[in-house]
């Protein structure tokens, strides 16, 4: 018996009643006083009622589906901890990707929760406010479920103990932190373009799909389960991201150049941020699912290509410098792992030289670059390590003023030359990793002059003095010899062997 049609309102009516009909027209306050941030970015909204959530999700169903997702998720968490799930991962090196995830990504979820709570308050349209409210709650759920998932591993492995503290202080975590703070300090429409569209729609597939599938392939049930549970919300966020962009573009032609500038900026910001994900996929997953270059082709070049073709009708072109990402896909994961390997004394995870078999996989996946450029570096360092001279770079790197990544990425047209750009603004010199990052500075110099660059902060004496061991141990709270350094011979490797023998 199907009672659906007789008793229940249909989806469209339910959406109308549970969103638009909850709003009212203010009578004794002016619109611009209630929503004071709606205008300053120059975005013109003529008719908020054109905003439509294609999922037509209402709050009652939202709670119902989210509760179902949580029940399924926590049943798995219980099963993993009751069955010593930590022993089922493919290789103890794998856990280092999880450590990087909780220190670098989980705090972004928390910032997204705060960000959507803020901008949801700023929109004159009720559809937009409700969508932001749901997304804000989703992001808080992601933060909590990730912490719960990883708390099990935290009982057995290092590097996860102080993740919020580390997020605010550790040099490489300034990359995700400054990325999100850039978005959070922008106006509400730029925030949505940055996070809902450029990040969620165009780029998060690259994090959650291949990486989470990789977690499954490496026996990490907790991560794949929270990852896919979070991603089921992301599918809704992505759709919203696309609808937002179309909505803004359809509202007024003056919005087009503003949005184009934001798309140029945030695709580049996101691409740089995802260098870390490329490294996780190519170097930190012992069982590989696909290479970073393949993931970039599938999720940026193909899926993003379809998307930007769709947006042509609004006068939008593909983001500036997108062609450089297509060149960079064959370099960025190797260059990033090389950075972390040599600064492995200042990381809250272990680093290592890929095994011979892993290097062969990299040669196969990167025929134009790996054997020519990166294999010789790793082999040289492996030789050094075998002689007891494991290489740690004890100097400090030059950082990009915008993305805050060490200037370790090569020129698009010369992969033996570091890419470097600079500019002088009001008598002060600033340095960048790329044309993309320098452009971002030039558009808003007053904002980026204040970047908190970890290397400069150390040298100003703001991170606990000049002794790097103290900076790493006391200021970052990375426990020397326990959380950091080489994987071979690490306490983590030793414990793993003992546990495996005990079984």
């Amino acid at each position: 018996m199907n009672a659906k049609t007789s008793k229940r309102l249909n989806m469209k009516d339910r959406y109308r009643i549970m969103t638009r009909d909850l709003a009212w027209e203010p009578s004794y306050q002016r619109h611009e006083d209630i929503f004071p941030q709606e205008d300053f970015e120059g975005i013109k909204i003529v008719d908020w009622s054109q905003w439509e959530d294609p999922f037509r999700l209402t709050m009652d169903n939202y709670w119902k589906f989210q509760a179902e997702k949580e029940r399924k998720l926590y049943a798995i968490f219980d099963a993993v901890s009751q069955n010593n799930g930590q022993m089922n991962v493919s290789d103890p090196r794998y856990l280092n990707a999880v450590k990087l995830f909780i220190t670098a990504v989980t705090p972004l979820e928390y910032n997204a929760y705060k960000g959507y709570a803020r901008v949801g308050r700023q929109f004159g349209g009720v559809g937009a406010r409700i969508a932001c409210q749901m997304q804000s709650i989703d992001e808080l759920r992601h933060t909590q479920t990730q912490i719960h998932a990883m708390s099990h591993y935290n009982k057995y492995f290092g590097g996860m103990h102080d993740f919020p503290h580390m997020f605010d202080r550790v040099w490489y975590l300034s990359v995700p932190k400054s990325f999100f703070e850039d978005a959070s300090t922008a106006g509400p429409f730029e925030f949505l373009t940055a996070i809902s569209f450029s990040f969620e729609y165009v780029l998060t597939n690259l994090l959650f799909l291949p990486f989470m599938s990789g977690a499954a392939y490496n026996g990490d049930m907790n991560t794949v389960t929270f990852g896919f549970s979070a991603q089921s919300d992301e599918a809704r966020h992505m759709t919203l991201g696309l609808e937002i962009i179309k909505f803004i573009l359809e509202q007024h032609e003056d919005n087009v150049p503003i949005v184009q500038k934001w798309l140029d900026k945030w695709l580049w910001r996101g691409y740089r941020l995802l260098s870390i994900v490329g490294m996780m996929m190519d170097y930190m997953l012992p069982n590989k699912v696909m290479s970073w270059a393949e993931a970039w082709e599938m999720y940026y070049e193909e899926a993003g290509g379809a998307l930007f073709k769709e947006l042509e009708r609004y006068g939008i072109r593909p983001p500036k410098f997108a062609e450089q990402t297509v060149i960079g896909k064959n370099h960025v994961s190797h260059q990033t792992w090389f950075v972390f390997y040599q600064y492995g004394h200042a990381t809250a995870f272990n680093t290592w030289i890929p095994t011979a078999k892993e290097m062969d996989w990299l040669s196969e996946k990167y025929p134009d670059t790996f054997d020519r450029l990166y294999r010789p570096r790793f082999e040289l360092l492996a030789e050094k390590a075998a002689k007891g001279e494991r290489f740690y770079n004890n100097t400090l790197p030059q950082l990009c003023q915008i993305c805050q990544i060490p200037l370790a990425i090569t020129e698009p047209d010369d992969d033996t030359m570091i890419s470097h750009r600079d500019t002088v603004h009001e008598g002060e010199r600033y340095h960048f990793c790329s044309d993309g990052c320098r452009d971002i500075f030039h558009n808003e110099p007053e904002k980026y002059v204040q970047a908190w660059l970890p290397v400069h902060q150390i040298l100003q004496g703001n991170c606990g003095g000049a002794d790097m061991e103290k900076v790493i141990g006391d200021y970052y709270r990375i426990e020397m010899g326990e959380d950091n350094l080489e994987f071979e011979g690490s306490p983590e490797q030793r414990r793993w062997k003992q546990w495996k023998q005990a079984v």
Partner: protein
């Protein structure tokens, strides 16, 4: 021509949803990865409630898709009877 896609968790529910998709969208291409099923099609892909209900042998709300869905590419059009992904371009 552009490709739309939907990625689902590889679980009991999805098995039937994928069956329904394949039946209603003969050109859809199904790709399996660890823990995940990705279905692609040219320009358009529709999931019909009736077909899914027939495969599952129970009532199914199109919004239930949210529980098993991991990602999508394309514009969305959803009502009580179907869920469609499409590109205009």
């Amino acid at each position: 021509m552009s490709r739309v896609f939907i990625a689902l968790q590889d679980n009991e529910n999805s098995r039937f949803i994928v069956e329904a998709i394949s039946e209603d969208n003969p050109n859809a291409e199904v790709k399996h990865s660890p823990a995940m099923i990705r279905i692609e099609a040219d320009d358009r892909l529709t999931i019909y409630r009736e077909t899914v209900e027939e495969k599952l042998g129970r009532d199914w709300d199109t919004q239930e898709l949210q529980i098993d869905m991991i990602s999508i590419g394309g514009n969305v059009d959803e009502d009580d009877d179907s869920f469609t992904l499409y590109w205009n371009s």
